[in-house]
């Protein structure tokens, strides 16, 4: 098999990762953008989403699709509920002090992770896809001098499951509807106003505390939603929150802290390149380089790709 199918497969796999990463990172970015705090426990809400998806699909044993739909509804709600409780009980009380919030969310990270270890156990558990069929991918052929498609057969032929394509489509749909909510609705307007200037928003009668709770819940819900989508591909595990947290950090930083557009662009960039790089290089080396790159971006271009330079 030559290079082309490899690259195409890697790109598609990367697109699945990028789609899920965009959702997760969007949650982190939203929280940072509006509330100016970093939620270190963000990856644990992702993990929670996956774990809840497992519980729901196990409880509704009739058909995988039923369980999946149930999880799509229940997991984000559970995550949002816990996040709102954390916001009310902890973050609000430390007055959203940036450093105290980081320390507190580290605490919340351990609490959630260890609670999952006690309630869910140390094993990785699979969740069945709601539907699954293998789709063979066509390749472009130039051998006859004109471009034509052909479907290779046999072992190693490029293919992708219909579920993976669904993940890409679903994530895109969620991102677009989210963008519409932010830019076209009153809720979005209120959130943007709070982001711009908390004091002024308060003076205009916007219930800033409720907006904060909502945003924190929404951020966690997005992470959980992303996990529900990925868990049929990836298995649920109590330690699975680490990687998405780190990757989301990377995305949010590269995209520019608090910039939604930057976050989505960076997620595509990183998700795709992560998929592509790890096919050709050692994943560890790729991670080292990516991590160092991000640190350097923060050091030398703290506003990221799209963020504005602080005055």
């Amino acid at each position: 098999m030559d290079f082309g199918p490899h690259l195409m497969l890697a790109t598609l796999e990367g697109a699945v990762g990028a789609a899920v990463l965009a959702l997760t990172a969007l949650g982190l970015s939203l929280v940072f953008g509006v509330m100016r705090v970093v939620n270190v426990a963000h990856g644990e809400f992702y993990m929670l989403g996956a774990v809840v998806a497992w519980f729901v699909s196990t409880a509704i044993g009739t058909h995988p699709a039923l369980g999946f739909v149930g999880a799509l509804i229940v997991a984000p709600l559970v995550a949002a509920g816990i996040a709102i409780a954390a916001d009310r009980l902890v973050l609000k009380r430390v007055d959203y002090d940036p450093e105290a919030t980081i320390v507190a969310t580290i605490g919340i990270l351990y609490i959630m992770q260890q609670a999952a270890l006690m309630g869910f156990g140390p094993e990785a558990r699979p969740v069945t896809e709601p539907f699954n069929s293998r789709i063979m991918l066509p390749l472009l052929d130039w051998s006859k001098g004109l471009p034509s498609f052909y479907y290779p057969t046999g072992w190693g032929a490029p293919s992708i499951t219909s579920y993976k394509l669904f993940v890409i489509a679903a994530a895109t749909a969620i991102l677009i509807s989210f963008w519409l909510i932010l830019s076209r609705t009153k809720v979005g307007l209120i959130m943007r106003a709070t982001q711009l200037d908390k004091e002024t928003a308060q003076a205009f009668g916007i219930p800033v505390n409720r907006v904060y709770s909502l945003v924190f819940g929404l951020g966690a819900g997005l992470a959980a939603l992303a996990a529900v989508l990925i868990v049929p591909i990836q298995q649920a595990h109590y330690l699975m929150g680490g990687d998405p947290l780190l990757l989301s950090f990377i995305v949010v930083i590269i995209g520019g802290l608090g910039s939604i557009r930057g976050t989505v662009v960076a997620a595509l960039l990183i998700g795709l390149s992560d998929g592509i790089i790890s096919v050709f290089f050692s994943p560890t080396l790729a991670k080292i380089l990516a991590t160092l790159l991000v640190a350097m971006v923060l050091v030398f271009r703290p506003q990221g790709l799209y963020g504005k330079k602080p005055a």
């Binding site: 990270l109 260890q114 006690m118 930083i253 560890t284 991670k287 160092l292 923060l298 050091v299 703290p302």
Partner: protein
């Protein structure tokens, strides 16, 4: 001045109590306290940056690991005796912290925390990547026969305890002295109000830079000491968790107090020690303690004592 005398009495008294402890404690606790003393040295290093200078690092494990691997590799592969290997560990930590300082100090606040986290993560991943030499997660053991200093066998429990105490005492006295002289006062000034300090004529960058290097080097000394005294070198010590631990210990014991790091380490160590008998989810305790601290006692144990009863506490 009486404040100075009280402070000297406190530090000398503490070291004396710990010395007596070596002979008063049973084997189990003697072993624990030896370990605590090395980890508290790590916390003291962390405290220089976080407690006194106000720089919150989320990546101190890289300095601990630099000392640990510096010493470990030098002994395991280089065949160096303990003392030169210890020096290698110190140099590794000092060089790494100087490098990190130059880069990370260009950022402030949340960005600084994330940059330190990222650097530490790269170091951790690099240790895994070069697994052929570092033995990655599995780690390697430093041969018992080489862990000797001046004819003393560091694998003997009493010798090990006293060596740990010596390391801890050195770090404690160095920081106590440092915070007493102008350099340390300026670090506190930087923590309290950076711009004011600059406009009083102090070179803020130079002070922060030195704080990071001193902090990193003390943490590296703890790492090297750990390798030497307990004979094990592994990637776990470079993981995020080991960056969070000193933050937790220092917050609990009292950031910006000289003996807070020890107090916090003792508390946390025994809390986790007892709870791990009950559950394998012992990190739950760490999480709960972190949240409670940020909510109710930001100053930590010694900090609250200083606030309420003893404003002279260094």
């Amino acid at each position: 001045m009486s404040i100075d005398r009280r402070s000297i009495a406190l530090h000398v008294g503490l070291i004396t109590v710990l010395f007596v402890g070596c002979f008063a404690l049973n084997d189990y606790h003697q072993g624990n306290v030896a370990r605590i003393l090395v980890l508290a040295t790590y916390a003291i290093g962390y405290n220089v940056m976080f407690g006194y200078t106000g720089l919150l690092s989320l990546g101190h494990a890289m300095f601990f690991a630099a000392g640990l691997y510096g010493l470990g590799m030098a002994m395991h592969y280089g065949g160096l005796p303990a003392i030169p290997a210890f020096v290698v560990g110190l140099i590794c930590a000092a060089v790494l912290s100087a490098l990190v300082a130059v880069l990370a100090l260009r950022t402030i606040g949340v960005a600084f925390m994330i940059v330190t986290l990222m650097f530490a993560q790269s170091v951790f991943l690099a240790i895994l990547y070069f697994g052929d030499w570092t033995r990655g997660d599995e780690g390697f053991v430093i041969a018992q026969s080489t862990r000797q200093v001046l004819g003393l066998d560091l694998t003997d429990p009493v010798t090990r305890y006293l060596a740990a105490l010596a390391l801890f005492s050195a770090a404690l006295l160095i920081t106590a002295r440092m915070m007493h002289v102008r350099f340390g006062r300026v670090l506190i000034a930087v923590r309290e109000n950076e711009e004011r300090t600059r406009m009083l004529g102090y070179d803020v960058f130079r002070h922060k830079f030195l704080a990071v290097v001193i902090s990193g080097t003390i943490s590296g000394a703890a790492g090297a000491g750990y390798g030497l005294l307990f004979g094990y070198v592994g990637a776990t010590f470079a993981s995020v968790q080991y960056s969070i631990f000193p933050l937790l210990w220092v917050l609990l014991g009292g950031a910006g107090t000289t003996i807070g790091p020890l107090v916090g380490t003792i508390f946390m160590f025994y809390l986790i020690d007892y709870s791990s008998a009950l559950t394998n989810a012992y990190m739950l305790i760490a999480g709960v303690v972190l949240v409670l601290l940020t909510l109710f006692a930001r100053a930590g144990i010694m900090g609250e004592i200083r606030k309420r009863w003893a404003p002279w506490l260094p």
